[in-house]
Symmetry: D2
Subunit: 336 residues, 4 copies
């Protein structure tokens, strides 16, 4: 088996996670690393091997490289996607592709010239519990799907600086939930959305003119109703639940704890261990499985499982959410 | 202690429950029973004592009667309320007061002439678990309330005949959830609503031009977001959950089972006993506690805890839900 | 339906519970009450009706009385059982029948002269959860029973004064678990026992030369192994669990909480409401169901479901437990 | 950091697990592999590198080797331990050290001549949940420990062939629970034991004159009571629970499931995913953590955390269990 060689662009918080997983996967190796902070790049290569590239171009054009991993800041994504495509490399790009749908559409058109596999970083599709619930639903365990309830609350919000460039809660945070809903609904597209929200607690959100709390209802073509609720702070940890309600039953993918210990005392009964605190812990296995899935698609020359269009759709839904939020009405979603 | 004497109007499904609870409560006794079906009335008096009244008027005007319990069909409610008020009797009236807000408003105006205690039958406020969650929230356990999630799914829907006179899902079924949300929010009124729904499975709902599945988002004056989801069929039983999310924690009032037995076999792990199937089982204690609460208010000359205005507000919200559903937009709620 | 009339002997802690249940049951009424403390008797009759009897004899010989309820101190049980039997009354007697097996055997012999229904107060058999687990086992849900694990821990121990006359932990507290094991095993008698224990914390137990912690293993004729563990203090409440392990599955009757509320905060995850604190709360329904069961047996002229022999067997096992504890060996149980 | 080099002796079921973990751990590499079946050894080296050794001697004497991993059949353990000790290699040896306490004692005496780190393969000490419960107990969360309940049931039993050489259930299976109890009790040694069991279902156990079901009670020097129950078949999977009861609370290390999905249908409520089926899945992380722990002790020149004496003690307790079982009495444990 050929070991796939990776060029990593960007090794910030999320890039580091991908770097560690690539290093651990016996089918992969890190060939080169680029980051605007060369110290950060150095740190990664000293841990996991590979060389430091002095520019994205150098990394992408490295002839040994099979796959370009794009974990840089969002506005650079489409540029690197197209560079990598031109260089004939397979691509992994973190979400969102871009905050501007016009740039995404342009990128899409350009990409069509190249027959390049690309995988967008919607990690939650690869969480064993969400995945298991979805597969059991697909096998008919709950009959016909009628309702989806996604609870998605972060333990704490990002910095004001980040919020100013994040594109807003719907494009930055809820976009994961939009994609998860699309994944669950498969060939039954979301056709309308209602979104609302408020700024209930966050000074940073206020500074960035963003919200910190949201509720959404979407409807699919076949009539499935989907509710999403979001908060930028959950005192008890990273709250990630998915409920699938069908005419023959219900499946819930619940929160997870690091151990199976429960405690009993004068003050509590059957209290579980704390909820896994944030995405690095909660979706640790999801990240690993996502890489494995992508690598297998490349090796077996199969289409990627989360493609450019999935990334584009999630952004279109997020944009429609803003339209609904601002105009206080149901918005029809137009994917064209 | 004086035993309070009750006139029961209507002893159908819900009237029977009230009759049994009145008979069991040592502070109460059944004085007389009226039903359009005199056999039904006879059955109740033979079980629990009291005499059969030949007309509502006879029952209401009976001088021994302290309290008139109105469990007849919805269109008769306001008429009997006013008759009882004129006769100087305390009143319990099943929800909804009426399907027509104009009649409710007229009734309200008339009622103001009499200083009569009236209690509307929103039983869920008296469920020990919903109540406990709400009280713990009031005591500050979860800090400032930010989100409410109410899951409310019936095990199976009513007959087509009933659906035709029910006033529609929002006025018949969701009205309980609207009231529960108002109860939780207390002095923080719901100011806007978005409601949607669909007819996903029910032939009866189709015949009645009603929906069978709904999702709603409401916002309170202070910004609390509240989601309600409804279904007319839940294969696993009567699904009644309330989630209160605050800035310091979360409280969930979960479903209940008749026993605390869990089973383990080749096919399942830690499977609980079945969920209590419908409102008679699930809210058995709530009904008893509601009666107790009402009777104590009467005996102690305190205001009733669920009053006419609560019934009127829930109907106003239900009407706004229909407005939103039909016009696909956020609707401001006008309580005047 | 004839209302059964009760003579209550002894209205201390447990007698009061029975009095309230008799008063609530529409098939029963309290005819007379005797207690060495006539104020206590007066209190009961003023609450629930009936007259105060000046002596046990007066109560038992009252010609209106159908059933004698014996809730006096243990040493008086056999005397009142025989008096009631001679008077031709049905009998309910609290556990244990007596602490001395010779007196129990003598009483048994005497009783055989009268064909009197007698029911011994092993309330746990009537707990809906224990009962449900047992019935599901009987229906074959877990195949052939192989192991029983009974966890039975009181929230706090009795007074030193009580401990001195209690007959010791095995005869006073564990006797309930012995009976529960017999009930579960039905026609498969317990044939041997090993018991051990220690005094780990209780000054009162020390004063009474008793233990406060125990562990037991018993074996039935067919080879079923049964473990019991006891403690006189459980900081988290009254711990009452029964685990039935068979070759096709396992059923656990778990602890119970007053509400179905769970809480989540920085310090806990999915913490349930507190465990019901002691037998009055935990077995509230069991006591009501036990009375109902007894009354139905009387009314339908069927044999009682917990008879004198059940009470005798539990004491024999408790005695064998002491033999084992003192001699540190397996003891064969001789029921003759 | 120096990479530690391993000689693997025996790559059957358990040796394969260790081989994979050594290969995955970046601080370790496989230097050579010996197995009586050279094909098995070849398979491992082709997967993970290293050379095939033609004899245990060749593997042990390989000068590159730092650590000898003994996963061969039990009767060969002491021989290889001593060879490795003479060769100055650190040692990991699977449980049990040997079935014969005299050989273990002799081996101990011999070993004392060499100052060699040795780690015995009691993997359960490294399970994150058991470990967490124990650490929380050590930190005082449940006050003074009073009771331990270990439930340990295999999903299915071994072959008749294996059972004949296993040394019997107590030495083969329960030995893990004995060690876990010692681990939890730390410096409070187990001083007496009562053990019983039966052959309730297993033809293989019958053929091997072994039991398939057991219950045990042990007492520590300070009076802590410890119950173990075992079965060779649990229809619902590998049942591994540890309950720690103290005077201020209780901690339970519960069973684990591969996902956090729960299902609801007409037939079940809140049914969890299946229990992890057997030790390879259930203790997957424990095996990895055990290796990590051992390697860190070697690298930091610290004493091993599960030493020869721990292995010897567990065998002494198992032997005492047989003594108790055969003589139906409490047996004092003599560790000398």
């Amino acid at each position: 088996m050929k070991i796939l060689k990776f060029a990593l662009l960007g090794v910030g918080r999320i890039g580091k996670i991908h770097a560690a997983n690539i290093a651990l996967n016996p089918k992969c190796s890190i060939e080169c690393v680029y980051d605007i902070d060369s110290n950060a790049a150095n740190k990664i290569t000293s841990l996991y091997g590979g060389t430091v590239a002095l520019s994205p171009k150098e990394a992408i054009s490295n002839p040994s490289v099979d796959i370009v991993y794009i974990c840089t800041s969002t506005p650079t994504h489409t540029k690197y996607i197209l560079s990598a495509a031109k260089a004939g490399k397979a691509i992994f790009c973190e979400k969102p592709i871009d905050l501007d749908i016009n740039r995404v559409n342009k990128c899409k058109k350009e990409l069509e010239k190249y027959n390049i596999p690309i995988h967008i970083g919607f990690n939650r599709r690869f969480d064993p519990s969400h995945l298991s619930a979805n597969e059991r639903k697909n096998k008919g365990e709950i009959g016909k799907l009628e309702q989806i309830i996604i609870t998605s609350r972060d333990p704490s919000g990002p910095t004001a600086a980040y919020l100013k460039v994040s594109g807003g809660m719907f494009r930055d945070m809820t976009i994961h939930d939009f994609d998860l809903a699309c994944f669950i609904l498969q060939n039954d597209p979301i056709v309308e959305i209602y979104a609302t929200g408020d700024r209930l607690f966050s000074a940073e959100a206020k500074e960035a003119n963003d919200i910190d709390t949201a509720m959404i209802i979407m409807k699919s073509e076949s009539g499935v109703l989907c509710h999403i609720n979001n908060s930028r702070h959950a005192s008890y940890g990273y709250d990630q639940r998915v409920e699938l309600f069908g005419n023959k039953g219900m499946l819930i993918s619940n929160n997870q704890t690091p151990t199976s210990v429960t405690s009993y005392s004068n003050g509590n009964t059957s209290s579980k261990d704390h909820i896994l605190n944030f995405f690095i812990e909660r979706y640790e296995i999801a990240y690993k499985n996502q890489l494995e899935n992508f690598v297998n698609c490349i090796n077996n020359k199969k289409p990627t499982t989360v493609n450019f269009e999935d990334g584009r759709k999630a952004l279109i839904i997020a944009n429609a959410a803003y339209d609904s939020f601002e105009n206080k009405k149901t918005v029809k979603i137009n994917y064209s």
